[in-house]
């Protein structure tokens, strides 16, 4: 045989990389050469129910133990960044809703902030406030999805059903407010698309009255359960240095003990005025990620209380010309999405559409850690650890 790939002889083989090795796998499974106990390469996904979408993870197994893992991406790629180059600035939000479809308002806001920075638009205070309120509701809904699916990854079915019911209450509020349950198209450069409807604050307050007890119930059902605790304690360890090296952000980073939250450290919208704490973990195991996110949900309720009580008077949007051409230049704005630092980088050539838009999606960086987090653990823990990272494939593959 030639020294090329067995199927494509014109493709040269990498040094020390046999042709039978699946693409994307980093190393030759140990043990194959000696023909001792062979390692099993398991394709988890892209249609595995526990990968939260169309994630494909190649896991190399020695019996039950994970030797290495590698995420193979791109199954949900829709070319959002490229499409944005042919959309005018107020049309891009429709694409970004579909990037992170669990918390669309954060992506929309990041884009609006970047555009406003570029064009020097002053956003009315009421608009910033409404954005924050809508984002916090969205964050809570997103964390509820995570809480439910994380429990389900560990085998807890009932909490998922209760949590989805609780989430429905928020989605109802957001539908009444933004016109859609998940594809909001609400935040526009300059402000928001429409004011908060009359009477919605009463509805939010009514939900807040029960939200605490529902969260307590769900937390007791999952985090209070000793079997669940035993499953998630000490697995999926990510130490602070590794987390930082991989560019992790959000709850995953804070669970490793790094105190970094954009809402407090680089305040945007109304967050500079608000009073909240940033929960931190110690070890960076699955239990820490659980506690940090549940703690964040409690802070979220605290923020929503402050936000709904203090909606200021004013306009809900600044005057933005219909034919909007920001000056040539570039800008970057980031928000703390439920998954971490979600940034939008816009390059403008002064035209009607962005010259280039780049989405820094936090889950992409958080997912990059799979090899470090899964290796050495058991395959059953791999699923729990993947769940604890709170990934959204729409945002990773864009």
């Amino acid at each position: 045989m030639s020294d090329g790939h067995s199927w494509h002889s014109d493709v040269a083989l990498e040094e020390g990389r046999p042709a039978y090795l699946p693409r994307g796998l980093k190393r030759v499974p140990r043990g194959v050469d000696e023909l001792a106990t062979e390692h099993l390469v398991l394709n988890m996904g892209p249609q595995h129910p526990s990968t939260h979408g169309v994630l494909h993870v190649l896991i190399e197994l020695d019996g039950e133990e994970v030797i290495s893992a590698e995420a193979s991406l791109g199954y949900l790629h829709r070319g959002i960044e490229k499409l944005a180059e042919s959309r005018r600035y107020h049309q891009v939000a429709t694409l970004l809703d579909r990037a992170d479809y669990v918390s669309g308002l954060h992506t929309e806001t990041a884009f609006a902030l970047a555009t406003e920075k570029l064009a020097g638009i002053e956003v009315p205070w009421r608009a910033s406030w409404l954005r924050s309120l809508a984002m916090e509701l969205n964050r809570y809904a997103s964390h509820l999805v995570w809480l439910g699916t994380f429990g389900m990854d560990a085998g807890a079915m009932a909490p998922f059903l209760y949590i989805m019911r609780d989430r429905e209450m928020i989605l109802d509020i957001l539908e009444e407010w933004c016109g859609s349950r998940m594809m909001f198209n609400y935040v526009r450069p300059g402000g928001v698309f429409a004011d908060i409807p009359a009477g919605l604050d009463a509805k939010i307050r009514a939900w807040l009255r029960v939200a605490d007890s529902y969260l307590d119930d769900n937390d007791a059902l999952l985090g209070g359960n000793e079997i669940f605790q035993a499953r998630i304690r000490g697995t999926g360890l990510i130490d602070a240095a590794t987390a930082l090296a991989f560019g992790m952000t959000g709850g995953c980073l804070r669970a490793s003990g790094v105190d970094y939250d954009l809402r407090r450290d680089v305040p945007y919208c109304a967050y500079g005025e608000l009073d909240f704490e940033v929960p931190l973990g110690v070890n960076g195991d699955n239990l820490d990620r659980y506690t940090v996110r549940v703690g964040e949900m409690r802070q979220c309720l605290r923020l929503i209380r402050q936000l709904v009580d203090g909606v200021p008077e004013g306009d809900f949007t600044a005057k933005v010309p219909k034919v909007f051409r920001p000056p040539a230049g570039e800008s970057y704005a980031a928000v703390e999405s439920p998954r971490g630092e979600l940034g939008i980088h816009i390059v403008s050539d002064g035209g009607l559409t962005p010259y280039r838009m780049r989405l820094r999606s936090p889950a992409y960086f958080n997912l990059a850690i799979v090899d470090e987090a899964l290796a050495g653990g058991l395959v059953a823990d791999a699923i729990v650890t993947l769940g604890s990272l709170d990934i959204v494939l729409g945002e990773i593959d864009r």
Binding site: H90, T94, Y162, G179, D217, G224, V323, L352
Partner: protein
């Protein structure tokens, strides 16, 4: 004590059995749809049955998915005549940008949400067909946007 949390969990599950039911027996029962909810785009008519649309094509340029198509001709006595106003429902993402952009309130986001169909051709709708367009001189909306003109319309 080990196992107390598990017992407490059972308690919560039992408590949840007595929480009120939130599901409804669709299609006999339906949940109300909020005022702002966005579903299929409908054309809006005046009381006398004439369309409000002036065939100004602003909505066509505004739609990010290019699902609206208006073909119009000029009447011999002046004014515009809408030959077809085609709406590709299957490709519409119900973003509402066309409705926001229309200066004459001639289309609306309806509450028609049961959009499933057996026939693919049902997803291409004729919102208006062979009617005279409204005269644009009829008062446009207060906050209406000026129609993009000349070069701006061209590179939009």
């Amino acid at each position: 004590m080990w196992g107390l949390g598990v017992l407490k969990g059972f308690g919560i599950t039992i408590k949840n059995m007595f929480r009120p039911v939130i599901t409804v027996q669709y299609p006999e029962q339906r949940l109300p749809i909020p005022e702002r909810a966005r579903w299929a785009v409908h054309a809006v008519f005046n009381e006398d049955g004439t369309p409000k649309c002036t065939a100004c094509l602003i909505c066509v340029k505004e739609c990010p998915d290019h699902v609206l198509r208006v073909e119009s001709s000029t009447r011999p006595e002046g004014g515009k005549h809408i030959d077809t106003y085609v709406y590709e429902l299957g490709a519409c993402m119900m973003c509402g940008l066309c409705v926001t952009a229309c200066p004459y309130d001639a289309i609306e986001m309806s509450h028609e949400y049961e959009l499933a169909t057996r026939d693919h051709s049902d997803l291409t709708r004729m919102l208006l067909f062979d009617v005279d367009a409204a005269s644009p001189r009829r008062t446009p909306r207060e906050d209406a946007a000026p129609a993009p003109t000349g070069t701006e319309a061209a590179d939009a």
